[in-house]
């Protein structure tokens, strides 16, 4: 009896001393197939070493998890890593006491880190003007053009030559409508696709100061003649039933995957969903442009999110974070993620690896997003980084809805959106001076 007790006590002691793994809390907003991808990444890292354990927690949509993290931070309970969407970048950058720049985390932990290894159009967005990388570019998508090849065939359009310019899109939409299609063209993330990425794609400014990359005193400029012309074209398409508005955010994505709408401009990351759920043959092409605008097509802007490191944690926990980021940046890991999800490849090495493996040949259209981004950017197309961007997007949603409903002209709506948006920028500037 006594020996049995001592054996039990000994094993209990031993099991307690083995629990030395440092836990790293990772709050994210990836649901569905993307959620499985996140969990797999954490599992791979956890299996590759014994000191740290990354625990991914799904906290709802991007703004829900940001709100949760803010509340947790105020209560002293923030996670280590937080996934924040790209429009929250300016807010996170301005909250200097709440975050630790990724460059600093990697340096302090002594992990080799080469900012030049990352795809420039992506990493540049999350880099401060002084060159320090602030957040880890985890999942970056860009705006692409998805189209239903089966619907094209039924309408008598060649499914392998998708429309490349906006006039061609209108023509294709007319053919689709003539063949009885009820929703030839729609779009998700209206502000992102039709104003923000549209501007960069045509080498035009969306806002002053290099679209806000050079300072927080930027002001909006998307009511230029080119923008007014484009919105007017869309409004005319809406009037003739060629463009059907399907709601804010990504509400329209479901209508494309279900086959209801034949063409849509949206995120490249819709690819994973389409591959899984669409019952038709689908194609990806570049975002349409106006061929008469000089300098177009230039490059598109990113969407998606990045990983921010929250302040107030212990040094050895930051070491774990740094090692996790290094693991994610390995060419094989980054290439696997890119091929699985439709997000852009993280590093140039992972892009080359994917190309060499013939992935792009076997899955045509998956390199469109990369092609649009892996170009030399200009001052006007590097990216858009504005404060109170969430509100500005909502303002754009609201004003453009008035255009689609026929209540306002394109010029009135864009002027109103610029005026209201500038008020938001002024408030942000006031609240974050110095």
């Amino acid at each position: 009896m006594k020996t049995k007790l001592s054996v039990v006590a000994l094993t209990a002691l031993l099991s307690v001393s083995v629990q030395a793994q440092t836990e790293i809390q990772w709050w994210h907003s990836m649901g569905g197939a993307l959620g499985e991808w996140v969990n797999d990444q954490a599992k791979d890292f956890n299996n590759s070493q014994k000191d740290y354990k990354v625990v991914p927690v799904f906290k709802g949509s991007y703004d829900e998890s940001m709100t949760a993290a803010i509340a947790a931070f105020r209560a002293g309970n923030a996670p280590h890593i937080l996934q924040v969407f790209e429009v929250g970048t300016a807010t996170m950058m301005a909250s200097k006491n709440a975050i630790v720049p990724v460059g600093e985390v990697m340096k302090k932990a002594g992990v080799t880190f080469d900012p030049g290894a990352y795809v420039p159009a992506v990493a540049g967005y999350y880099t401060a003007p002084n060159g320090q990388m602030l957040s880890f570019p985890f999942n970056s998508s860009t705006t692409v053009f998805h189209y239903n090849k089966d619907a094209f065939k039924a309408a008598g359009i060649d499914p392998n030559t998708p429309p490349k310019t906006w006039p061609e899109v209108a023509l294709a939409a007319a053919k689709l409508k003539a063949s009885g299609h009820k929703c030839p063209f729609t779009t998700s993330w209206v502000s992102w696709t039709q104003l923000e990425s549209f501007s960069a794609w045509h080498n035009t400014e969306f806002a002053t100061k290099g679209n806000g990359m050079r300072g927080i005193d930027a002001r909006l400029t998307f009511n230029s003649p080119l923008h007014v012309r484009h919105i007017e074209n869309l409004a005319n398409m809406a009037k003739s039933g060629l463009f059907v508005y399907k709601g804010r955010g990504n509400a329209a994505d479901a209508t494309f995957v279900s086959g209801e709408c034949a063409m849509t401009t949206g995120s490249s990351a819709l690819y994973g969903n389409i591959k899984r759920n669409a019952k038709f043959e689908s194609g990806i092409s570049t975002l349409p442009y106006y061929p008469d605008v000089p300098g177009s097509p230039q490059n598109t802007v990113i969407g998606g999110a990045s990983l921010w490191v929250m302040a107030g944690k212990k040094d050895n926990e930051y070491k774990g974070v740094a090692q996790f980021f290094a693991h994610l940046s390995k060419p094989e890991e980054a290439a696997k993620s890119h091929q699985r999800t439709g997000y852009l490849p993280l590093t140039k090495a992972s892009y080359q690896m994917t190309e060499k493996s013939g992935f792009y040949k076997q899955n045509p259209g998956t390199d469109v997003s990369v092609e649009q981004m892996i170009r030399k950017t200009t001052d006007k197309s590097r990216g858009i980084r504005l404060g109170n961007f969430v509100q500005i997007r909502t303002i754009n949603d609201e004003e453009l809805e008035q255009v689609w409903a026929g209540k306002k002209s394109a010029k009135e709506a864009l002027d109103a959106a610029v005026k209201r948006g500038n008020e938001q920028l002024e408030r942000f500037q006031k609240a974050n001076k110095g």
Partner: protein
């Protein structure tokens, strides 16, 4: 001889109501105080810098014309929800009162919607109205009406009013039914003998005797329309198209949780609180005079 509970102990009554008081303090007074505090501050999202700005948040609000427009939207919305909600549930209660067979069945069905969470109610109705596959949207198209709540302001308002009223009907129905059943049958029979028709009997006897219930439900419905309907708007129209269904409480949520501007959101909460307090005072002062107990 008055029947009253008498406590011999000095501290027992306090102890017994302490749990309730704790809940009221923690869930009502503390957040209200916090809102008042935050409404005179301007903070960044993470709370790492706080600035006292006095009434500037309020000044900004009242200078914003979309905020003033949302007062009108909210007023329209609450009037619609309260009047339609009360009339429909009163009608249903009167009809349910007369039913003898299967009364339990009708009453259960009419009470069920109250158990549905507002967000779920919103999603339910949006499934039915989503063109082109929603049942109601399809039926409307068959009779020639192009339903589009994404772009048509009136359709969007109709959608949220229907969803909000549907949820509240059960609550109103229950109270009206109880009120109807407490009216003495003898009064109604006497009126019938005197030759009054059903409509006359209702409007001159039943309705005035129902006035305490109606008054109570009016207060509750107005508060409901102002506060509890945010989830319905969030699940359906998100305040759109444009700003046509952006009721005041939706803007409070948006500014606080999406725009992360806690000062402005708190200021709006304070304004809303003042409005509802004022409305309730008005109702108690003036409308209650007409209530016959």
């Amino acid at each position: 001889m008055e029947k009253r509970v008498r406590f011999h102990s000095r501290w027992l009554p306090w102890l017994l109501i302490a749990p309730q008081m704790a809940i009221v303090l923690v869930f009502f007074f503390w957040p209200a105080g916090q809102a008042l505090l935050q409404s005179v501050q301007r903070q960044d999202a993470f709370g790492s810098s706080t600035e006292w700005v006095g009434l500037e948040n309020f000044a900004d609000l009242f200078g914003d014309e979309s905020y003033l427009a949302s007062f009108k939207t909210t007023a329209l919305f609450s009037v619609l929800v309260a009047t339609i909600g009360l009339s429909v549930s009163l009608l249903l209660a009167v009809m349910a009162d007369r039913v003898l067979r299967g009364a339990g069945f009708y009453k259960t069905l009419l009470i069920w919607p109250y158990a549905v969470a507002p967000a779920v109610a919103g999603v339910l109705w949006i499934f039915m109205f989503a063109s082109p596959m929603g049942i109601v949207a399809w039926a409307l198209q068959e009779i020639g009406m192009q339903w589009n709540h994404l772009l048509n302001a009136n359709h969007a308002m109709a959608l949220i009013v229907i969803a909000a009223v549907w949820k509240q009907i059960s609550y109103n129905f229950l109270f009206f039914l109880a009120g109807l059943q407490s009216i003495p049958r003898s009064l109604i029979e006497a009126a019938a003998i005197d030759g009054a028709g059903p409509a006359r009997r209702f409007w001159t006897i039943v309705f005035p005797l129902l006035s305490p219930t109606t008054f109570f439900l009016l207060v509750i419905n107005i508060v409901y329309a102002f506060f509890d309907t945010f989830a319905i708007v969030d699940a359906t129209t998100h305040g759109g198209p444009g700003k046509d269904t952006a009721i005041l409480v939706y803007k409070v949520y948006y500014d606080g949780f999406k725009a992360l501007d806690l000062g402005s959101s708190a200021a709006q909460s304070v304004v809303l609180m003042t409005i509802v307090i004022a409305l309730t005072v008005v109702q108690f002062r003036f409308v209650e005079k007409k209530v016959q107990y």
